[in-house]
Amino acid sequence: MKALQVSRSVPRLGMARIASAISPITATKLGPLAYTSVDAPELPGPGWHRVRTRLAGICGSDLSLVEGHASLYFEDWVSFPFVPGHEVVGELDDGTRVILEPVLGHEARGFAPPFDGAAPGDGDDYAHLSTGQLQPGIQTGFCCSTGGGWAPEFVAHETQLHRIRDDMPDERAVLVEPFAGGIHAALLAAPTVAARQDPSTPAIVAVLGAGSMGLAAIAGLRRYVPDVRIIVGARYPHQRQFAKEFGADVVVAPDELPRAVRRAAGCHMVGDHLSSGAHVTIDAVGTSATVADCLRITRPRGRVVLLGMPADVTLDLTGLWHRETELKGSYTYGTEHLPDGRTARTFDLAIETANELRAERLLSATYPLSDHVDAIAHAATAGRRGAVKIAFRI
């Protein structure tokens, strides 16, 4: 079958990195991603299903990889060559439509789950991600044993599949995975919100970046974290509009975010830092500049949640040290303990949220796999072009 595949090629990764400064189209053409014939993956064993892809989204982490910006950290957690694509809605052999929860967890790899009812992303030991009955791979879409969503078919374990109702369109379902990531980040704000010094006024949670993940974080905050005032920095008008619709209280351009947080907190500005600031700031972008900005606007002993996948960043951490700020990574999803006392799977919350907000509105365009150069270029420039999510339609 014809699919998009990433091969390990240091020269191509290097060329993509250089070319990405010129254009995403050039980076894609020169980089490690190729539209090529691949064999459909074998089913690894019982409990595995063949999934025919209907829609597969292009994520920021995919773009980093294709453009050669992904961190070398993942070298030992992926297996080449692999087919990318982890935001997937597909169809089983019996025609049932499913959403993929892409993390290749304990059970998919033949290990006992860390606790009863654990989600694939749960647990505090990642050894299973590079061992077991599969080649190394953090998720479907980064593992040569399973294939990925940027192909007509791939394989998935039962624990990775969420069956969906007929009334949930594919265009909505493909947004569930990014929504789950955003909601997980939102829920990481909850403990700091709950522990704040003055519970008589709403906590201030700032979100920097309003692509699909940032918007999902906003939705997650509004729905699942009580008593928050959400202030968003979003670059493009359509992002600002969605942010408002998804529950942000204040939406401003990114360079106005510090002042907006200052006004809400009623604090001073000392140099380029706020004297106080947001209780939690969610960085949905993940560059050196945005992480630094988030540290500057988060109050002492507050939390910065790193939702956007960073690569190599350079940071002056003196402010973090002085202000005792927590810097917390937010990766995928799993089992959540909500502020209202419930326990729920992030994916279930994401399905609920995507249905309520009609998440299909964020799907801006679809492309066939053969047009992957244009698709990736569109995804890389989505904001500028008034788009949010771009996907492959198989």
Binding site: V250, A260, R263, G266, M269
Partner: protein, 528 residues
């Protein structure tokens, strides 16, 4: 003999009219046979012997005893003076305030007075920079008083240094600078640039606090001030006069010193700006072309520096001292004598070129809120009788209106622009919903008290200044402004004056009458 103000009816032979456009100019050809241009009276002759006139006035006040007889050893004497917002542009040194205060100090010293404080009466304006204080007061006064803490700037947010004097019969609270309130004699040194200034508007406002100012600096009062240049038709002035009565009854004895200036506004090489275009000589044309072309190529920061460096050649035309209201009556007449221009009837469209400066951006940036305030607050209100533009008419301004703010002078304006205007432009709504938060924001308070920032509430006052105009006119168009910024202000952008007229036709029809008020130099239209 200076010529009076003049209303020119535009015909086909009328040359283009010069419009201010921030730190630049434009020439506009107004439609013939239905446009007119109002020109200011030429500058009146100045007093030759300024120091002599000051001395004479101090010794011969109106309705009060001569100043030396009011001075005695052991007394508390406070001298308050108008801040950097006057005059515009700043005058050549020595400033009148310096000349007056030096004579007052000499008389005080002769009388054995040794407890003298000098206070910049800036209300909620920004603190003056050292160079501005030196310019206004001279180096001798500055060096003698400032290092000893005897020359300072009114702090309207210092609760330990404010004194409550009482309430008017309308419930308006009067709270002023404590030193001034407790002095045996308060001498107020005023420069009356426009008829709005002076009287109790200087004394009861310049030393007041937010608690006092909010009683008249609010949308209701501003909307009912028709106009600020006509004290008897202005609710703002009626309120401050009521406060003045309480000050007179419960506060210090006030010795008011008021001065008027002629309208000789522009030095060389900018004197062509004051001239009537059909009287431009080749030299004036060359100067205009040279200035316009080089400004077009000059970076905005440098252009601003050039313009704010202008020192006007305006000179004193009168000085009167004594009882506040008696003095102010004479001052106001002198201002009218210099500035009034008789104008017959109203117009459909009023055009005005907004210059680089207003009272609130001296040595600073004219941000979009100040563009609005200058046009709809000040220039719209340069009338007596009726507004120049009819109700439901159109005002067209020319100004670049870039979204640029001085972060040191106008920090709360930035937030006002980003936050308040994103929510509402209705002055009444913002007054209820937002004003208190800005007035009481600790950070703005800190900046006002310790740096050179306008008070947190100040952008609201600037917006309220345009209340009457906003209610009166049907549309406001800004030519040559940044489109997004103009829209954020609630106005309509136009690239050219002809486009503006085209847009205006939806409101005033296809052949409206047009009046251009060519100011500065300052004038007041006496509209019949």
């Amino acid at each position: 003999m200076p010529r009076p103000g003049f209303v020119l009816d535009v015909d086909k032979s009328t040359p283009p009219t010069l419009f201010w456009h921030g730190e630049g100019f434009r020439l506009e050809k107004l439609p013939a046979d239905r446009s007119r241009v109002i020109y200011a009276p030429e500058p009146h002759d100045a007093i030759d012997d300024v120091d002599g006139a000051i001395r004479t006035s101090l010794l011969n006040p109106i309705d009060m005893d001569p100043l030396p007889s009011l001075l005695f050893p052991g007394m508390k004497l406070t001298i308050a003076f108008d801040d950097v917002s006057l005059p515009l542009p700043k005058m050549k040194r020595p400033d009148l305030r310096q000349r007056i205060i030096e004579q007052v100090l000499t008389m005080a010293a002769d009388a054995g007075v040794d407890d003298v404080h000098i206070i910049a009466a800036l209300a909620l304006h920004r603190r003056m920079h050292e160079f501005e204080l030196r310019h206004a007061l001279g180096d001798r006064v500055y060096d003698a008083f400032e290092p000893r803490g005897l020359l300072y700037q009114h702090d309207a947010e210092d609760p330990d240094n404010l004194a409550f004097l009482g309430t008017t019969d309308q419930g308006e609270e009067i709270e002023i600078n404590k030193r001034a309130a407790e002095s045996d004699l308060l001498i107020y040194v005023n420069i009356n640039l426009v008829a709005m200034d002076g009287g109790w508007k200087s004394t009861a406002i310049g030393l007041a606090s937010y608690r006092s100012l909010r009683h008249h600096h609010n949308p209701t009062t501003m909307e009912a001030s028709h106009s600020f240049m006509d004290q008897h038709a202005s609710e703002l002035h009626k309120s401050t006069w009521r406060m003045g009565k309480v000050m007179r009854d419960n506060g210090p004895t006030v010795f008011q010193i008021e001065t008027t200036l002629n309208t000789d506004t522009f030095p060389q090489p900018f004197e062509f700006l004051s001239k009537r275009e059909w009287e431009w000589k080749p030299k004036d044309r060359a100067l205009y072309l040279g200035a316009a072309k080089s400004l077009a190529k000059t970076p905005p920061r440098l252009a601003r520096k050039i313009f704010h460096g202008i020192e006007a050649p305006h000179q004193m035309t009168s000085i009167q001292c004594g009882e506040v209201e008696a003095v102010h009556k004479v001052t106001t007449q002198n201002v009218y004598d210099q500035q009034l221009v008789e104008v017959e009837g109203q117009t459909d469209i009023l055009t005005m070129g907004i210059p680089y400066i207003c009272p609130y951006n001296v040595h600073s940036i004219m941000n979009p809120i100040l563009v609005m305030c200058t046009g709809l607050g000040y220039f719209f209100n340069l009338y007596r009788g009726k507004p120049l533009v009819r109700e439901g008419g159109v005002v067209i301004l020319t100004h670049p209106t870039t979204p640029e703010f001085h972060p040191v002078h106008h920090p709360s304006y930035i937030d006002f622009f980003e936050e308040v205007l994103a929510d509402t432009r209705d002055p009444h709504v913002m007054s209820q919903k937002w004003e208190k938060q800005y007035a009481e924001d600790d950070w703005y308070r800190h900046l006002y008290r310790t740096t050179n920032a306008y008070h947190g509430v100040h952008p609201f006052y600037m917006w309220y200044w345009g209340c009457h105009a906003m209610k009166h006119v049907g549309k406001v168009i800004i030519v040559g402004g940044d489109a997004a910024t103009v829209r954020k202000l609630g106005f309509t952008p136009a690239s050219t004056m002809n486009d503006a007229f085209e847009i205006a036709s939806d409101t005033v029809g296809r052949s409206p009458t047009i009046t251009h008020i060519k100011t500065p130099p300052l004038m007041i239209a006496d509209v019949k």
